[in-house]
Each structure stands twice: as structure tokens, then as C-alpha cells.
Amino acid sequence: MESFVEAGCLEKNAAKTGEEPRASARPARRIAACVTLFAFALAVPLVADADGDALAAVRADEQQRVEVFAQAAKAVVCVFADDRRGGGGSGVVIDPAGYGLTNFHVVQSFIGTRRGYGGLSDGRLYPLKVLGIDPGGDIVMFKLEGKERFDHAPLGDSDKLRVGQWVAAMGNPFLLAEDFTPTITLGVISGLRRYQEGRGNLLEYADCIQVSTSINPGNSGGPLFDMAGRVIGINGRASFEERGRVNVGLGYAVSVNQIRRFLPGLRAGRLLEHGTLGATVRLTGERLIIGSIQEFSSAERVGVELGDELLEVAGRRVRTPNDYNNIMAILPADWPVTLRLRRDGEPIELTTRLERLPLRMSLQYVPDIEHNHAELLGVLDRAASADITRGEEPWASAIFQGQVRSAGAGEGRAWTVFVGTYRATEPDENGLDPTLRDEWRVLTRPLLARPEPDLRWELLAGDEVDGRLVNVIERRLDDDRRVRWKFDWRTDELRQVVFGTADDPEVATWTPANRKEFDGLRWPFKWSRRTRTGDELTLEIESIEFVSPEPLAAPVESAAEEDGQ
């Protein structure tokens, strides 16, 4: 069948040649009439079958939802403080190893021992251990034991949510789940980026999701799902009024995108705090102005000035004090933040790290060092065996020793560090490049060799590098120097290595080479060099040696040598 465009052209051509298109009008009209009748005849049975169609369509949609819920419900946990179903709430497993999320206020009653219990929809109770906690954000991570592999739910993207879309909450309101199957409630998103004032020191919910799903006491800590079965929030609060603590159509969930930044720290078993810029804002007409700046704050240090108009924080446009409070309340302490401001009509961009906002509560929290080390080794392990056959171009693999000398302090100091990246060569039967394994052993041998945790190594809270969430492993050298490796949270690639001291952790930074520029065994790598004015420490790169991919001859000695320097 000829296309219509072509037909149009033909029509024009016909006109040009002077052909009379109406020559065959009469038979054409008859045919047109028949065709019209035919089309309407088709329509009649369509209308008549509308009932059957409608029911089939509604049933199919319902069935799809049922299947999504059935799968999601397997990841929902009924959280208890003891094995007699005391002190309950809800939670959700987000990793097959049994890691999950719940509210801080759900586990608060057993935060001392950190040991509780989780009931799953298989009807059984599993031991539950609380790992990292974020009391300010009302989120903690736990781990269930007792099975090799747990059903888990994937995380969604709460920035993509829209008011009016269907969502479902799952949990254990009023502890009704006698067999641990969760209660499922359906509703829509009623509002986004809502603010709920805290009660006492806790439970301030900023930037939260407001939902019309029924949320009642006992739902706390449980997941909010989208219709694809992805976790988009953790339910924790509801509005109550004269009737008492019974749902009246408004519930609130901590957004999953807020929780994401805290995931590495939660997984590392740490007590996490939120950040502050040390500045407040106020609305002058239509403009949001910096109203006050605390002395010695991050804002002051980076050069924010009173009267600057604030446009964006961490990539989010802010127009009102509420917008500002919402974004500030959800960032972790020490997080890198880029501010876009306007000063005297000129745009300015400033980047700084937030300071910690101390918890306004006394909390006895002893970090679990063994767990932290186990997680740390897990990160190194994953980094070592990260999938190297991703179909991308091969890129460099090597160990290098970087010597950085600092001048100006009289004595020279140097860091020697072993850093590995990946190369796609012929993998062995495990899919692993044998030289790669050796490189990592060199790096981690001192760590692996010790029976008890090596206190010089620690898994820190997460960080952000070039917009990517990273795990951070820190190695403390004897004389107060520190090296931090930052591995991508999702892909386990090495993103950054940072050298510094206790006072100034970011003296020098190394980032992996741009892999597209790689050529054979040489790779161009970049050092960023930072000079602090007003301080005697100036850093210059004196020399960098590139060491070939062969494994070092005497790895143990090299490690000792590194320690001694």
C-alpha cells in the first residue's frame, strides 16, 4: 500500500498534469459509502462487547497487582523486640543476604542489645541484629540470620514519584499479623516533599512522602511500594486527631532517595548524623536570601556571604525556606554539597562539606567493630572480583607506588600506596585475572592476615564522588596519616583515593584514569594538588613511579616498608 505522503505527492502531480480527479467520482462515492458502513458495522460489536472487555481488562489489572504484591510481601518483616511478639513494628529486606531497613523508633527499645526478631511471611521468626543507625532520619539497617538467601525487594527512585500514583504500604499495624503475613493497604501519593515537625528530639520528617494508604501504629518501619514492587519509602508517621491513634487518611514515609545516601554507613554499622551548612535563609519578596551564617561553619569557610541569593542546593532548586529545610535535613554529616548562588547579579558556585549536626539525644551506642571489619572485607572482596567482562574496552591494571613529598614543613613526607584497577584479560575459571588477585592480596594481606580486626582499617560512612554514591575504606598509618579508598556503591569500581591527616582528610586526591585514554601499559593519571593559603603545608608532587603489572616480588616486606615510612 502506498504511503500517504506519496499519495499526496501523486495528488499534486495529478493536479499539475491537469488530470481531472473527479473523473471517477461516482463509483468512488459508492465505494466510500460502503466502506463507511463497514467501519461503523465494525464499531457496533465493539460497543456491545464493552462489558466483557471491561471486566477482562479490570481483572487483568487486578491480577497483575496481586502478583506484584505477592512477590513484594515476601520481603516484608514483622519486627519484634523479643520472642514473645513484644514491641512490634515492620521492616523490609533489601538484600538477599538479609539486610533490611526499619525505623529507628521501632528498634529503640532494644538498641542496647541490638538484638531483636523478625517474622517473615513463611510464618517463621528469625534473629535480627541492628547494624547502623540514623536516629535523625529515623532509619536503621538490620540483618536477619538463619537462611542462606532471603527474599528481598529492590529499591526504587523516589525523585520520579508523582502525586496521584498508586502506592501500597505493607506492615503489621496493630500487630494483627498472627502468621506474619503483612497487612497490605492501597492508596495514592497525596503529596511530596512534605515536612512533619519532630516530637522531642526525634521523628522530624523532612522531604517526606505523604500517602493516603492506611498507616496505623505497627506500620512503622515497613515499606512503601510502587506498583512495580520497588521500595520507594519507609512508613513511619501518620497524622492523628481527636479519634486518637487511628489512621484518618494521612501517612508519611521517609523517601528512599534520602535513605540511599546513608546506606553505606548503615551497612558499616555506624551511628550516623545529619549535616548542616550552618546558615539559615529567609524569603525577601520572591528571593531566598542567606539570612545568617554561623561562625566557623561550612558556609562561612567556603565563602557564602549574608545577602547572597540561594538558588540551588545539591542540584535541587530551592525557592522557600521549607525547600531549603527539606534538602538540608536529608543530607549526611560531612557530605559534599554544591551551592549555586547569585551575588550582585552574578552567579556563583561553591562546593563544601557539611558539618555534623549533633544528635540532640544521649544515645549509648557502641559500634560493632567485628561487623565493620566483616563488611570492609566484603567491600574489598567485591571490588576485587567486580565483573570485569562488561563488554567495555580493556583498561589498565597495575600497582603503582606514588610518592608525594610535602615541602615547606622542613621534613619531607611520603605516602606509598598500592592501588589497583581492572583489566580484562583472559580470566581464569573464576572469571578473575590472576595478576589482579595477587595485586589485591598485596594490598590487603596485612588486613587479612590478622585473626582479630585490624584497628587501623575501618569502613566509614558513605560519600559522593562525581554524583556517585561510594563506600569508603580508611587506612590509618601510624603517624596520623590516612588513606581513603572510595568504591562505587553499585558497581564496586574504585572511584577515588584520598590522602590526608586526621585534621585534614583531603590533602591530595587521586582519581582513576579516564579509561578511554588508556593505551597499553601506560596510563595517564592525574593528581590534583591542593594548596592551602595561610597554612604552612604546601603539597607538591615530586615524583611518581609507575610500576609494571607484574606482582611485586616480596609483598610482605613491601607492606612492612610502607608501615615504616
Binding site: F4, L161, V163, G164, R194, S239, T320
Partner: protein, 338 residues
């Protein structure tokens, strides 16, 4: 444009889905209706008093800033403010009230605002989708979008309710919903259908006398339209339902109830006055009166309250139980001098 081109265009236009523009617009199956509703509901603020909240909702009914809301203490404040969806604040003036329906009309000095057309709600059927948009719990501030929720239309009924200890003045037809709208700040908000058509004004939070629970309802849009257009007629009609204060006659049926044991006892007939309306209709001694003019009469007190509301001369139905039988009889309300 010639025929084939027109055909292409027609076909293409009929197949195009509605597009949703920016990030802040709603999503899901009711996106358009939500966007329509949110852009026509305003936040109202005034002063509170005791348990009364100083905030609520209102709906825009004209492009120049006429707003309908429910009567409440917040309107008594000298500085009632309306905050538009875009965040602009205006002082609002009360220009009309309807004490029976407990609604009011406000005016702000604005122009070119989107507003609701007051169509009627008669097309609604139980089970139809409804969307509520209101300033519930005043969660949203300034330009922040108000809260929305999705539920269904439950049905219609005549309202019989209490607000705290007092009978609620409005006893007319309301739209029931399973959306929870009996919450602080929701009164004066909008109920719209799946296409964004305004069907009802969320009513003041009251307790149903029939169930003793908070009842979720809205005033039908026709009633709101009547308030805006024919206010005096509505008032007159309401007035004519009541016997005037100075009326010489009161309604009388000729029924004397068994009064022993207090007025909470069931309405058993002791005797019927000969030739009275009840006698003519067939009511006899020992009959139990179950309902009068459609209202249940559980107790003697209820019977008398319903009877006192009747209009002399009207024909009303009376349902009685005699033995195991139920009968519906018709009587003409008589009058008796006070």
C-alpha cells in the same frame, strides 16, 4: 487541507494521549483531574477558637476570585487570608452566608484565575471514582501543593448529624464518600470526579446521628450553585418548611402514645382520637409506630419531634407494626390550635 490530509490529522489527533508536562504535575490514572482540582482549591487561614481550627479550604468559583467555603470560626477573624495554589496571598472578605447549609462566599481581589464550573452531580453513581483536594491538617504551606486523595462515591443520603453537642443545621441531601474528609482543614475543599468535574464541597466535620461516627460527606454542587445564584429563594423555601413562629395551628395526628416509663420508650399507640387523621388512616390502639414521613421513630420523643416538623395539610406515610404485620398507611396532617 484536502481530504486525505484531514483524515490523517483526524486519526492522529484521536489517538494522541494527553501529555503531562513538568515534574510538579500529577501522575497516575487521575493526573488531569488532580491538576485541575489542585489549581482551583485555596488554603484559608483565620483565627481559631478552642477546639476550632483556624484554617480550612475553599474553592474558586469565578475567575475574579469568588471562593466558596464552609462557615466556621476562622471566618470571624478580622484578617481572613486566602493563599492561592501559586502561593500568592490575598485578604478575603465574606460577602454572603447560608446558615442552613453552613457555607459562605468570600471574595479576593484577583483576576484570570482558573475556577470550577458548578455542573451537577446527578450523573454520579455509587462506585464512581472521587478525588478530594483540600488543605488537610494544613500540611502544605504557601505554594506547596495541597493534599489529594482518591476514593469512591458511596451514595446519597439526607444528612442527620451532630456537631459536638448540637444538631447540625443542614438536613438536606449530601454526597457520601469513603474518602476520609472529616479531618481538620478539609471542610471547604473540593470533591471532583475522574475527569476533574466539581461534584461537591467537602462539609464541616460532623458526627452522624445514625451511626455515631464521623461522617464523610460533601454538599452537592447543585446546592452550592443554588447558594450562589438563588440564595434568597433557598432561604424562603427553607422558611416555608417550618411552621412560622406565630402560627396559630400546630400539626396534629390524633395519636396518644403510651407515655409510662419515660419518653425513651418505643412509640406504642395508647389510643387514637375518633375522626382524627390517624383514625381515618387506620391507626389503632396497640399499634407500634416505626416511622413517620420516612423518619424512623424509635421512641416517643422521636415521634413527637418528627410530628412537630410536619406541615399541616400534607399527606405523609406512617409505618406501623400490628402483631407480626407491618403496614404502611397514609394520613393527612391535621392542625390544632395552640
Amino acid at each position: 487541507m484536502n481530504l486525505p490530509h484531514a483524515a490523517i490529522l483526524a486519526a492522529v489527533l484521536l489517538c494522541l494521549p494527553a501529555s503531562h508536562a513538568q515534574d510538579e504535575s500529577a501522575g497516575g490514572p487521575f493526573a488531569d483531574a488532580i491538576d485541575i482540582a489542585r489549581s482551583r482549591v485555596v488554603k484559608l487561614y483565620g483565627s481559631g477558637f478552642g477546639r476550632e481550627h483556624g484554617y480550612g479550604s475553599g474553592v474558586l468559583v469565578s475567575g475574579d476570585g469568588r471562593i466558596v467555603t464552609t462557615l466556621s470560626v476562622l471566618l470571624e477573624s478580622p484578617a481572613v487570608r486566602a493563599v492561592l495554589p501559586d502561593g500568592r496571598r490575598f485578604p478575603a472578605e465574606v460577602i454572603k452566608r447560608d446558615e442552613e447549609a453552613q457555607i459562605a462566599l468570600l471574595k479576593i481581589d484577583a483576576a484570570d484565575l482558573p475556577y470550577f464550573e458548578l455542573a451537577d452531580s446527578s450523573e454520579l453513581q455509587p462506585g464512581d471514582w472521587l478525588i478530594a483536594a483540600a488543605n488537610t491538617f494544613k500540611i502544605a504551606d504557601g505554594p506547596e501543593p495541597i493534599s489529594v486523595s482518591v476514593g469512591v462515591f458511596s451514595g446519597r443520603t439526607e444528612l442527620s448529624a451532630r456537631r459536638r453537642t448540637q444538631d447540625f443545621t443542614y438536613r438536606g441531601e449530601v454526597l457520601l464518600t469513603d474518602l476520609i474528609v472529616a479531618t481538620p482543614g478539609s471542610a471547604g475543599g473540593a470533591l471532583v470526579d475522574a475527569r476533574g468535574g466539581f461534584v461537591g464541597l467537602i462539609g464541616k466535620a460532623v458526627t452522624s446521628k445514625r451511626t455515631n461516627t464521623w461522617i464523610n460527606y460533601a454538599l452537592p454542587s447543585e446546592r452550592v450553585a443554588a447558594f450562589l445564584n438563588e440564595r434568597s429563594d433557598v432561604e424562603d423555601a427553607a422558611a416555608s418548611e417550618q411552621p412560622a413562629a406565630g402560627d396559630a395551628t400546630r400539626p396534629d395526628l390524633g395519636i396518644v402514645l403510651f407515655d409510662i416509663g419515660g419518653r425513651e420508650r418505643p412509640a406504642y399507640v395508647e389510643r387514637v382520637r375518633p375522626d382524627s387523621p390517624a383514625h381515618v388512616a387506620g391507626v389503632r390502639s396497640n399499634d407500634l409506630i416505626l416511622s413517620l414521613d420516612g423518619d424512623a421513630t424509635e421512641t416517643c420523643e422521636r415521634f413527637q419531634a418528627v410530628r412537630d416538623r410536619l406541615r399541616v395539610g400534607r399527606e405523609v406515610a406512617i409505618v406501623i407494626k400490628r402483631g407480626d404485620d407491618l403496614r404502611t398507611l397514609t394520613l393527612t396532617v391535621g392542625g390544632r390550635e395552640r
